[in-house]
Structures are given as C-alpha cells and as structure tokens.
C-alpha cells in the first residue's frame, strides 16, 4: 500500500474515532446530568 493510501486510512479512522469518542462523551455527560438532576429533584420532593 502506498504511503498516501495508508496515510488516508490512518487520518480517516483517527478523525472519525476522535469525533465518535467526543460525541459519545457528550451524550454520556448529558445522561449523567439528567440523572443527577432527577436525583436532586427526588431528594427535594422527599424532603418535603
């Protein structure tokens, strides 16, 4: 395989994984925040 083809494979895979990882992390953070807020709401309601 030529160096250009191998380079293109590395770049394409690399950039895709960077995007996918950070996108999953963003989704993960959103879910985590949602759960935490629900928990806080429940505690507040329980406190009343």
């Amino acid at each position: 395989m030529s160096i250009w083809a191998e380079g293109a494979r590395v770049a394409l895979l690399g950039f895709s994984v960077v995007f996918i990882t950070l996108m999953l992390l963003a989704i993960g953070v959103k879910i985590m925040s949602f759960c935490c807020m629900r928990l806080v709401d429940k505690k507040k309601k329980g406190g009343r």
Binding site: I3, W4, E6, G7, R9, V10, A11, L13, G14, F15, V17, V18, F19, I20, T21, L22, M23, L24, L25, A26, I27, G28, V29, K30, M32, S33, C36, M37, L39, V40
Partner: protein, 372 residues
C-alpha cells in the same frame, strides 16, 4: 616551557572541540531564554529547555552519554513516558470541567479543532516524512505540549526536541496566531453573538464526570489511557474535596518538578548534529499550518452547528478547541470583546478548550493504535 603538557591540557578542555554548530545552538538556547524572560513566552518550559540546549552543546561535557545526568532525565522521564503523563495529572488537577458539563455540545468543537492535526499529517507526508514522523508533526496542531511529546516519544523519538519546541512555541504564540484567523472566518455579526449564561453544575456531576469520561475514552481508545487516566484522576482529586494534600501536590510540587525534568530532557535532544538540518524548518512550517487549520476547524463547526441550533453559539469559541488552556479561551474572549465589549465569552470558551485537550489525547491515542 613544556609545550607537550600545555597541548595535552588544552586537548582536555572543550575549547578545541567546540564546533560552529554548537555555537549556533548556544544562540538558539539564548534565544529561548530571551523569549521566556523578556517576552514571557512559556517561561516555565523555555527557561529549562533553553538552558538545556546550551548545556548539551558544551563539548566533552558528560551530560548526554549513556548513564550521564541529562541522559538519565531523558531515559527515565521521557522514554518511559512518565513525565508527560504526570504533567497531565497536574493539568487535570487544575482543570474545571464545569463549563463543559454545563454545555456538553462543546465537546464537538474540541473534536473539530483536531482538523489541523490531520492536514499537517498529510503535509508532512508530502515533505517526505514517514507516517510515524508525520503523526508526530501533525499532533502539534492540537496545541498540547505533553501530548505532542508523548506521541513523538513513542513514534519518532529522534524528533522529540523539534516537536516539543514547535508545540510550545505555537502555544505561547496563540494570542498572535489565532486572532487574524478568527476575524477572517467570522463576520462582525457572528462575533457579537451573546450566549446564555451557563447553568451551575452540581458537585455530584463534577465527581462522576472524570470516572465516566475515563470509561468512555479508555474503552474506545485504549492507547490514550495513560494520558487520560492521569488527567482524570487529577481532576477527581480536585472535585472530590477530600484529598487536599494530593491535590496541592499534583497542582504545585509534582507539576513543577516534572516540568523541570521535561524541560531539561527535551532540550537535551537538541544537539547541533541533530538540530541543524532542514527538518526543523519543515516541522515549524507544518506546525503553523496545523495550528491555523485547527483554529479554522473549530470555527467552521461552530458556524455549522448554528444552522441547526435554536440558541446560537458564538463561533469565536470554536477557535478555543485547540488545547492551549486557558490561553485560547482568553483569546476568544478578547476578540469577542473587540466586537462587543460587554460580551463575556471566557466561560463558554473554556468548554471547547478542555474538550480540545481530550480530543488531542484521543487523536494521539489513535495514531499510536494504528502506527505503533
């Protein structure tokens, strides 16, 4: 007078062994020290790097041979990859992920700002570097010194000095390089966009974040685990509020100690016979290209996101997706305030800024995954 004794003595001194190349390197070392002291460019690193360049280019000095002082710093600090990871521990202990947790969309801007890494990667291939060297040069575009050093150590150890100096030079020149690019790719109207104040983030979220992020990142990119693992444990020290001593050590003493070792070890790779070749010039040019495209990548994705979002993002904060923390975020704030003095973008820009650190570490992990 006994001339043979005199000549025997003379030959033992460095004077007769001094080469023109070494003197040139002294001036380069002086130049770094000058930049650090007079211009305040990354002084914590450029002072030890500059002095180390000066030291290792002293003829006959027992510093860089096997088992000698600076060679030991290099072998145990850099070759083992301990120092860049420990720096990440300290950086993690100093990082507030609050703005990122409050607005996780900003993580995408950190990903887009890795564009320059891959553009420079192709540029380096064009200039005749092999894939491993090209990856080590490309990562400069992430504007993250420890990650650049970490990757260069693993893939192209002969280039550590050049890559590190290019990375730290451009990081220190963020306020000079980024603003013209930011103005070129944004309109006055876009620069005036005001963003809604970020919500406050609970302590629980801040504690869970480093654990969740470690799981996601390490599962998807295992080679990024050493950097990301220490980055996140440093952050957990900060957010847990129960290990004050460890936090203070990570933020201060440990970070300062490893910075000294890093500076000395990086400078030691810049010996005249290695550095005075056309290669460093190409690396500096490619580093600048990488940096510029990373800035553009972040801005363009922010503009693209604005096509779909109800609450618009100021595209200037996309430029902060390059890692250089917190300088890139400050630059976004400054350029934003030129258009609207009452617009406060700093906290918004901190989100993409720390996302850039993660993005660069993942990009480096992928290079390691595919090329090592």
């Amino acid at each position: 007078m006994d001339y043979s004794l005199f000549s025997a003595l003379l030959i033992k001194t460095g004077i007769v062994h001094l080469t023109a190349g070494q003197v040139v390197m002294w001036f380069i070392g002086f130049f770094f020290i000058f930049l650090a002291i007079k211009k305040d460019f990354e002084p914590l690193l450029l002072v030890p790097i500059g002095f180390s360049i000066f030291l290792v280019n002293m003829p006959l000095a027992p510093l860089t041979g096997e088992g000698e002082l600076i060679e030991l710093f290099f072998r145990y600090g850099l070759e083992t990859e301990i120092v860049p990871c420990l720096i990440f521990l300290g950086v993690g202990a100093l990082t507030d992920f609050g703005p990122l947790i409050a607005n996780p969309k900003m993580l995408l801007l950190g990903a887009a700002a890795q564009l320059g890494v891959y553009i420079a990667f192709f540029g380096a291939i064009f200039f005749g570097f092999n894939l491993k060297e090209a990856a080590s040069i490309g990562i400069i575009g992430g504007a993250d010194g420890p990650t650049s050093i970490y990757l260069a150590t693993a893939l192209a150890p002969h280039m550590i000095g050049m890559v590190a100096v290019a990375a730290y030079s451009y990081m220190s020149m963020v306020p000079l390089i980024q603003p013209p690019i930011m103005r070129l790719f944004t309109s006055e109207k876009e620069r005036k966009i005001r963003m809604k104040q970020l919500r406050s983030v609970s302590r629980t979220e801040k504690i869970i974040y480093p654990i969740a992020a470690t799981i996601i990142i390490c599962l998807l990119t295992p080679p990024a685990a050493p950097l990301m693992g220490l980055f996140m444990i440093g952050n957990l020290f900060r957010e847990s509020h129960v290990v004050e001593r460890l936090l203070k050590t990570s933020q201060n003493e440990l970070l300062n100690i490893v910075t000294i070792f890093l500076g000395l070890a990086v400078g030691s790779t810049m010996k005249a016979e290695v550095f005075l070749k056309p290669q460093p010039i190409f690396i500096f040019i490619l580093g600048l290209i990488a940096f510029a495209f990373s800035t553009v990548g972040g801005i363009l994705l922010a503009k693209l996101m604005n096509l779909f979002l109800k609450e618009k993002i100021n595209p200037l904060i996309g430029a902060a997706g390059v890692s250089a923390v917190p300088m890139a975020a400050r630059v976004a704030q400054k350029v934003g305030q030129e258009a609207d003095p009452k617009n406060h973008l700093l906290m918004h820009a901190m989100g993409p800024n720390v996302a850039g650190v993660i993005g660069t570490a993942v990009a480096a992990g992928m290079f390691l995954n595919l090329l090592k």
